[in-house]
Symmetry: none
Subunit: 167 residues, 2 copies
DNA sequence: CTTGTATTTGGATTTATATGGATTATTTTG
DNA sequence: CAAAATAATCCATATAAATCCAAATACAAG
């Protein structure tokens, strides 16, 4: 069942939280409800290079990974191919969200992402799933997003000044 | 049976471990479960040139080698082909994972890969199987993977700033 | 060929850790 | 202000890791 009768937007908003002593994160009721509905709590965790832990419903992740044709045949002869398998295999993991809405961050991912026990974290909705950020890395990421948007806007304005006879 | 009812992704994640005094590595319950399911614990070990020991289910390894068609006919006339056969022949070996989830690294592979008794190792999931790395070589490999991902991301963001009239 | 020794292999026991649930406190909402 | 819902804490159980030990095998010497 959907959350409080509100169902239009899935996986949105930001929730602050902490990682408990055993490396577990608890989702807010809203996010928990979305995962129950979309994938019966079966998710894939993927450590992103920019420093966040993505949490996607399983089918979303499958679609992302589809298109890797014939992995076995290609792995023997190609270093590029093996590195590709490594960067997805090593940084992904199937997990299940518990009945209390908690998920354990695999130890191998913790250091890398700043997601160590007792730290403050932010759960960020990204429409197709959520991302878990350490509070420090999230504020850095926000700055980068802002910076990029401002730069892009300025370029757009500059382009608008150029007379375009073809228009 | 699959592990904990979670089965979508096989052979994923990273597990730290050690090689015991007799040169044996123990797989995590997850990885062990994947091998039981996929190949009844019959695997092929293959020492990769980048310094890891690949552990593949037997049929995966067969598929990998199938790309190299008709070895008998080709071997007579081609040095490249003979060398290919040699490097796979010399650096591969069939093994069976024990009932406790342990595997013995053949002595011939140890020195070459830094996989000597009492060393720290990392078992890395690569979707079609796993790789066993010495902790030192793995952190070097990780740096290379990270560097590549970061460079790729920066180029993508830079491209997004360019005004595209065709859009 | 036989016996003694060393090595290796597999399994059992102990110790530590992680998981899930229950309880209590806090906050929110009507 | 009361009731419900959510968050935080704590604890019991289950699970996995580490250590240790015994059996089996291989090896060497006599």
């Amino acid at each position: 069942m959907d959350y409080n009768g509100v169902c239009m937007l899935s996986f949105c908003g930001q929730d602050n939280g902490t990682i408990d002593a055993n490396g577990r994160v608890k989702f807010s009721p809203r996010i928990f409800s979305d995962f129950k509905e979309k994938c019966d709590c079966e998710v894939v965790l993927h450590a992103l290079p920019e420093g966040a832990l993505a949490v996607y419903p399983e089918d979303i992740y499958s679609n992302m990974r589809r298109g890797e044709a014939k992995p076995a045949e290609s792995a023997g002869g190609s270093l590029v191919f093996r590195r590709n398998l490594r960067s997805f295999g090593a940084f992904s993991s199937s997990e299940r969200i518990s009945a209390q809405g908690r998920i354990t961050i695999p130890p191998a991912f913790r250091e890398r992402l700043g997601l160590v026990p007792n730290n403050e974290i932010v759960v960020v909705g990204v429409e197709i799933g959520v991302e878990i950020w350490s509070i420090e890395l999230w504020s850095e990421e926000l700055s980068k997003i802002d910076e990029h948007a401002i730069e892009k806007g300025e370029r757009e304005m500059a382009a608008d000044l150029v007379i375009n006879n073809g228009g």
